[in-house]
């Protein structure tokens, strides 16, 4: 009897790496290049050198945690690649990366922007809500698109099960 093909380990790796890459986009694009916000920029406004440096420290802590999450994803990807019962599906992996990025935006957006109010996406606006909503909507779209690809990837797993059964 053919081994049942699993998606879980590859989804796990993809979600962690995708969330990590999403975190790096946030950090590199919004914190550093555009400088729209920093980790504590609502509580400690980045309007003088000392405050910017304090924010920079917390940005660093956040990005170090994102780096560890990405590294964990790579370890899971390595283990998934060595398992014969894990279907090596491009659709599953790409979908997981997208879902991971979407999850990052949703979790970070809800916790840091909405519940804790540590910072907002665009600090230099009187009305910060549209930017925060846009960030969340982007996350939801990525999550749904990713989930759709993962569902399509299930066909790859079933196809491999059938192929193994024939062999």
């Amino acid at each position: 009897m053919a081994e049942k093909q699993q998606q879980g380990p590859l989804i796990c790796a993809g979600v962690l790496i995708g969330a990590g890459l999403g975190g790096f986009v946030d950090g590199i694009l919004f914190h550093q290049i555009l400088q729209w916000h920093h980790m504590l920029s609502t509580l400690i406004p980045a309007d003088n050198l000392v405050n910017i440096k304090v924010n920079m420290f917390w940005d660093g802590i956040f990005h170090a945690a994102v780096w560890i999450m990405t590294a964990m994803g790579l370890v899971f990807l390595w283990h998934a690649g060595q398992r014969r019962d894990v279907c090596w599906s491009g659709r599953t992996f790409l979908g997981s990366l997208m879902a991971g990025w979407g999850l990052f935006n949703i979790v970070e957006g809800l916790i840091d922007h909405q519940f804790l109010g540590l910072h907002h996406v665009y600090e230099y606006s009187d009305n910060k809500i549209p930017w925060d909503i846009g960030f969340l909507v982007f996350g939801i779209v990525m999550l749904l698109e990713g989930w759709s690809l993962i569902s399509q990837g299930r066909k790859d797993a079933i196809g491999k099960e059938v192929k193994n059964e024939i062999q």
């Binding site: 699993q6 879980g8 050198l49 420290f57 964990m72 990052f104």
Partner: protein, 68 residues
């Protein structure tokens, strides 16, 4: 070798960059809220790691649920 020696000799100055505001920056970071802020920084990442890692076990859990 000489270049490395010069680099090492100048390193302490580099490490204490911006000596004027260094004390204020350290006070802004290492205050009584440090532990709480540290936890809040990591909270979204901890949740994401928990969700992501959970997927590793979904197939096994689902098959156990199906078997009853």
């Amino acid at each position: 070798m000489l270049r490395w020696s010069i680099l090492l000799a100048t390193l302490p100055k580099t490490l204490s960059a911006c000596p004027l505001c260094r004390v204020q920056v350290a006070a802004g970071i290492y205050n009584s809220n440090f532990s709480v802020t540290f936890f809040l920084m990591l909270l979204p990442i901890l949740i994401l790691v928990a969700i992501g890692t959970g997927f590793y076990f979904t197939d096994d859990l689902m098959s156990k649920v199906r078997r009853g």
